[in-house]
Amino acid sequence: MKNSDGQLYTIEGLAAALVMLLTAYFVINATSVYTAGDTHITDMQLEALGTDALRVMDANESRLTGSPLRNIISNVTFTDNQTFGTMFGNLINSRTNSAADHIQFSASYSYRSDLLNPVVGSMFINASRNLSGGEHAVRATKWVIANVKGDGLPGDSSYIPGFSPPQNRSVLVEVLLWRD
C-alpha cells in the first residue's frame, strides 16, 4: 500500500538543505581562530623590542662616556633602579607617529657570586608592574660586563652582593615583557 510515511518532500528538502548550509556557513565564517602563528609573531616583536632596548642601553653615547646599562648594574641603588625603569620604559614604549605603547616589564640580573665556590645569585632591578603569573611574557636577555671594582667596604655600592673580591664580572640581565 502506498502512503507518504517517511517521505521527504521537495520543498522541505530544499528548506532543510538551505538552513543547514547557511548555518554551517555562518558558523565557520563567524568563528575567530587565533592561530599559533599569530602568537609567535607578537612574541617575536616583543622580544626584538626588548633585545633592542637592552642593546641600545649598553651602548655608550660617545667614546668618552660609559654604557648606561653597565653603570646601572655596577652601582645598583634605588636611584639606579629608577633610572633603569625610566630609560627602559621610555625606549620600549616610544613610537614614531602615535601615542606611546603600553608594554610592561620586569627586569633582574643573575651573577655568580664567587669564583672558587660559585653560587648563582639574582638581583631585582626594576618593574613597571608586578608579575601576577597570568601574563603572557617573553624574555629578552643581554650579557653585560659590570665594572665592579669597588673596595667592598660597607657603604660601597659598586660591587655585586656576595662577591669578594670585587672585580669585573659578566652578569646576565633578563627582562620579561608583556602587553596589558
Binding site: 521527504l8 530544499l14 538543505a17 565564517n29 568563528t31 623590542l49 633592542d52 625606549l91 614614531t96 607617529n97
Partner: protein, 376 residues
C-alpha cells in the same frame, strides 16, 4: 502483488541532489574561508621584520664607497639600502645613511621596493624614524587597516665636525696666526686616515672619512686680522677684503705627496650658504665650510693615506690673517713635502682630540616599518 515499500521518491531524490550540489559548492569554498581565519598579517609581519633587519643591522651595499654617497644619477649603483654604521654595529645607524634614505629625490615605492622591501609582490609600506629630539622622518603611504609591522630601537651616530673660530684664535694665537702683514695666507688641515682608523677601532665611535661625511667650519675669519689704523693704507678687519683663492688637496702615500684635484662636487660652502660655490676664487669670504664626502675619499683611494687640505686666501690690504702654513714656494705651485714637513707649518689635525673636533655622538631613536598589500 506490487509492493513499493523502500522505494525512493522522486521528491527525495531531487531534494537530496540539490543538497549534495550545494554541499559540494560550500565545501569547495571552505579553503577560502580558512584563509580568512588565518592571520592575514603573518606575511606582512615577516616582510616588515625582514625590512627592519636590513635597515637596522646592515650597512647596505655597496659598502665602499657607501651607497649613500652616490648621486641620484648613479642610483643604479645602489644595490641595497641599509642604515647601520657597519655590520659589526647592529642598531647603530649612520646619520649620512639616514639622511640619504629619507631624501626627497628617491621615488616611492620603486626605489625603496627594490632595495629595502624586496620580493615580487607589490607591497605598500611606510618606514618612519623619530629620534630623541623629536625629529620625525618617514617615507611611504598612510597605513591602512590590517598591516604588518616591526618596531626597532636604535641609536643614530651623529657625524664628527670641527669648528674653528674666535675661541681657537684667542686661545692659541701663535698656532692660527703665524705671519706678519702679507697678502697671501694659507691655512691647512691634516686628515690622518691611518691614525683615525687605528686610534679608535669601534666603528660606532670611529671617525672614518671614507664612510661618513667630514665637516670643517672655519668661522670668524675677520677676527684674525689685527687692526692697524695708522698703517698706510689703514688695516681694519671690518673693511678688509678676504678672498678664498683655492682649496688644494694633497695625498701622502708612504713618503710621496701627490696633488689631487678637488672636483666641483666637493667645493666649499661660504658665508653660510646651503649650496657649494661653483667656482673659485670667491671674493668676500667671511667663513668657509668644507664638507668632504666618502665618495671623494674613495675616488682618490685615500682610505689609508694622510690627506692635507690647504685653503689659500688673499687679504687686502696686506695684514695678519688665519695662517698656519708656510707655503713653499708659493700657494699655486706648492711643494707639498717642503710645505707640510716644515717647522713653520702646523696643520690643524682632524683627530680624536675633543678640543679640536666634536666627536661622533649617539642618540636614541625608534624606527617603524609597516607593510601591507597593494603598493598604494
Amino acid at each position: 502483488m506490487t509492493d513499493d515499500t523502500g522505494a525512493l521518491s522522486i521528491d527525495f531524490l531531487v531534494g537530496f541532489t540539490i543538497f549534495l550540489l550545494a554541499f559540494i559548492w560550500v565545501a569547495s569554498m571552505i579553503p577560502g574561508i580558512m584563509v580568512g581565519l588565518q592571520s592575514y598579517t603573518i606575511d606582512y609581519d615577516a616582510v616588515a621584520y625582514r625590512t627592519g633587519v636590513i635597515l637596522v643591522e646592515d650597512p647596505g651595499w655597496p659598502v665602499s664607497p657607501p651607497w649613500e654617497s652616490f648621486s641620484d644619477f648613479q642610483k643604479s649603483n645602489m644595490t641595497r639600502f641599509g642604515l647601520a654604521v657597519s655590520k659589526d654595529t647592529p642598531n647603530i645607524l649612520s646619520q649620512d645613511k639616514v639622511n640619504r634614505f629619507f631624501c626627497t629625490t628617491f621615488v616611492y615605492p620603486d626605489d625603496y621596493h627594490t632595495r629595502a622591501i624586496f620580493g615580487d609582490y607589490p607591497y605598500g609600506f611606510n618606514i618612519s624614524l623619530k629620534d630623541a629630539a623629536g625629529e620625525y622622518q618617514s617615507v611611504g603611504s598612510i597605513t591602512p587597516l590590517g598591516y604588518g609591522t616591526i618596531r626597532r630601537i636604535v641609536k643614530i651616530k651623529g657625524p664628527s665636525n670641527a669648528t674653528i673660530g674666535t675661541g681657537n684664535y684667542a686661545k692659541y694665537p701663535s698656532f692660527y696666526n703665524k705671519t706678519e702683514n702679507v697678502t697671501t695666507h694659507v691655512f691647512s688641515f691634516l686628515i690622518d686616515n691611518p691614525r683615525l682608523l687605528d686610534d679608535v677601532k669601534n666603528p660606532a665611535y670611529q671617525i672614518d672619512p671614507a664612510r661618513e661625511q667630514l665637516t670643517i667650519n672655519v668661522t670668524d675669519l675677520r677676527a684674525t686680522i689685527t687692526d692697524y689704523p695708522t698703517a698706510v693704507p689703514p688695516i681694519e678687519n671690518m673693511t678688509s677684503t678676504i678672498e678664498l683663492v683655492n682649496v688644494r688637496v694633497y695625498k701622502k702615500e708612504g713618503a710621496l705627496y701627490s696633488n689631487v684635484p678637488l672636483p666641483a662636487s666637493e667645493y666649499p660652502f661660504v658665508n653660510g650658504s646651503s649650496t657649494r660655490v661653483t667656482s673659485m676664487p670667491v671674493p668676500h669670504t667671511d667663513n668657509v665650510t668644507i664638507k668632504l664626502t666618502p665618495y671623494y675619499f674613495d675616488l682618490m683611494k685615500a682610505q689609508n693615506c694622510q690627506i692635507y687640505l690647504a685653503l689659500g686666501f688673499n687679504v687686502t690690504p696686506p695684514s695678519t690673517f688665519l695662517n698656519n702654513t708656510q707655503a713653499l714656494p708659493d700657494f699655486n705651485n706648492l711643494d707639498a713635502k717642503l710645505t707640510f714637513e716644515n717647522v713653520n707649518t702646523t696643520p690643524f689635525n682632524y683627530n680624536y682630540e675633543v678640543e679640536n673636533v666634536t666627536q661622533p655622538h649617539l642618540r636614541d631613536a625608534v624606527l617603524e616599518v609597516a607593510v601591507w598589500s597593494g603598493g598604494g
